[in-house]
């Protein structure tokens, strides 16, 4: 049974698109046929992060309007043949998306794909609403700072009251927390909320902590999802996230500050 995953946050700039690209690639690398959809109509970014911006012919809105078929619009990823990207339209706005049209496309994708990752735009308006409406699982991307945490909390409220699962009284959307741009050193200095602080406010299942890392910016600039950079801490953290999502038990890394050799040998926790 296909599962629809929404990557959402409420707040902008927290790492939704980076996360969408990374987890879609991670799932595809594990052999699951995966599609990733950019819901940010008008502010198309996912194609850049995935490095397929030069191959966009048709987009999400074209398919909704029946101007192109799904197969024409889906772009196969150059790194992984199990991964397909459905880009957003850059020349339209969010009103071009209809609830019925989105539902129709997701139903069609479900026949063929194991996972469908919906990259939500920021905000709680139409684009974000439609990205989460049909979801089975939600990855809440949060930065360790108060405004991001509050916006995530608001988004959680919308997930539990306005989604299709909520409206049809089905089992609620499974919510997972992804803490991104985490810097243990700054947490120690009191400049950033800790994992525990965030958990106290959101009380969600923590799927992973992605450390603040130069590799994320490098990956974005080069158009390769950061999860493919297996040497980087962020790449490894996303790999852990995929493993945990698929039910494997992985201890959380990157929560504690970097220790020297001495600390590693004798430091304990």
């Amino acid at each position: 049974m296909a599962r629809i995953i929404v990557v959402t946050s409420g707040k902008g700039g927290v790492g939704k698109t980076t996360t969408s690209a990374a987890i879609a690639m991670g799932l595809a690398k594990r052999g699951h046929k995966t599609a990733v959809i950019d819901f940010d109509v008008g502010l198309r970014n996912l194609d850049l992060i995935m490095g397929c911006e030069r191959r966009v012919v048709y987009d999400f809105v074209n398919v909704i309007n029946g101007e192109a078929t799904l197969n024409q619009a889906l772009i196969r990823d150059k790194n992984c043949n199990q991964l397909y990207i459905l880009p957003a339209s850059q020349t339209r706005d969010k009103d071009a998306l209809s609830q019925e049209g989105v539902g129709r496309i997701l139903d069609e994708l479900k026949k063929d794909f194991k996972y469908i990752v919906c990259d939500s735009p920021a905000g709680i308006e139409r684009g974000a609403f439609l990205a989460m409406y049909y979801a089975d699982d939600a990855f809440i991307v949060t930065n360790p700072e108060v405004s991001s945490v509050r916006d995530s909390d608001r988004m959680l409220g919308i997930l539990s009251s306005k989604s299709r699962r909520a409206e049809e009284n089905e089992e609620p959307i499974k919510e997972y927390l992804l803490l991104t741009r985490y810097s243990p050193d700054r947490v120690k200095l009191g400049e950033m909320l800790s994992v525990d602080d965030v958990q106290e406010i959101l009380s969600l299942h923590l799927l992973g902590v992605i450390p603040e890392s130069k590799s994320v910016l490098n990956a974005s600039n080069s158009g390769t999802p950061v999860i493919l950079d297996e040497k980087s801490d962020a790449g490894q953290a996303y790999a852990d996230v995929i493993a945990r999502y698929l039910g494997e038990d992985r201890p959380h890394r990157f929560i504690d500050e970097k220790k020297g050799l001495f600390g590693k040998l004798f430091g304990g926790k």
Binding site: D153, R154, L156, G157, I158, E200, I201
Partner: protein
Amino acid sequence: MPTDSQHSNYHPPALEFKSTTFSVPVLVLANNDVIIIEHQLQEKIQLAPEFFKNSPVIIDLQELNKQDLNIDISELVNMLRSLAFLPIGIRGATTQQLKKALELAIPAHTGPNQASAIDSVKPQALQATPATEPAPILESATLITQPIRSGQRIYAHGDLIILAQVSAGAEILAEGNIHVYGSLRGRALAGVQGNIEARIFCSDLQAELISIAGTYKISEDLTEIVRNRPVQICLQNNTLTIKNL
């Protein structure tokens, strides 16, 4: 074979009558001008539109009839229905008013000290309201086990019991008491219909605002003695009092 025939004749009961007590809002009228009533009702509805929508209501005419003020029952009922109320009974009415109400398919209810007027009419439905004075309307409690997230709004007609946290930016309202067994970080308003006896109980007070029957305190007014602690909040001499539990 006697057992077989007995068996084939046996039908499990398809229905049974049970006596249950419900709590229903009672509309106590003190004026017989339907226009004025409608106007004031609309004001009330604006305070809590979702709560009043399709709300059952029992019309209480005792006060009116004490003052010998008659009221046009059909006009009143039409007005209530136009405001999306569902009148399900009348009490304290005169025999004539009752007759009129019955024509509109609204059954009579025995009001407090009001058996006499009802005598001539057979009670039509199960007694829907416990015979209490009209003042506070008691409703059963609403139980919530999920966290209340920022931006969510919960309204309870009676008591509200929340077993999870209430996030900052969330709003919980109850006509009765409020109990929160997680952290209370949002706004909590008890006794919103004016019940000054209502209280708020919480195991961890970090609220943005607390209010009982309209008297409120904001987060800034909370002293360090009560913040982050289990407390109860009640009204004493019109002042909001917070006591450690």
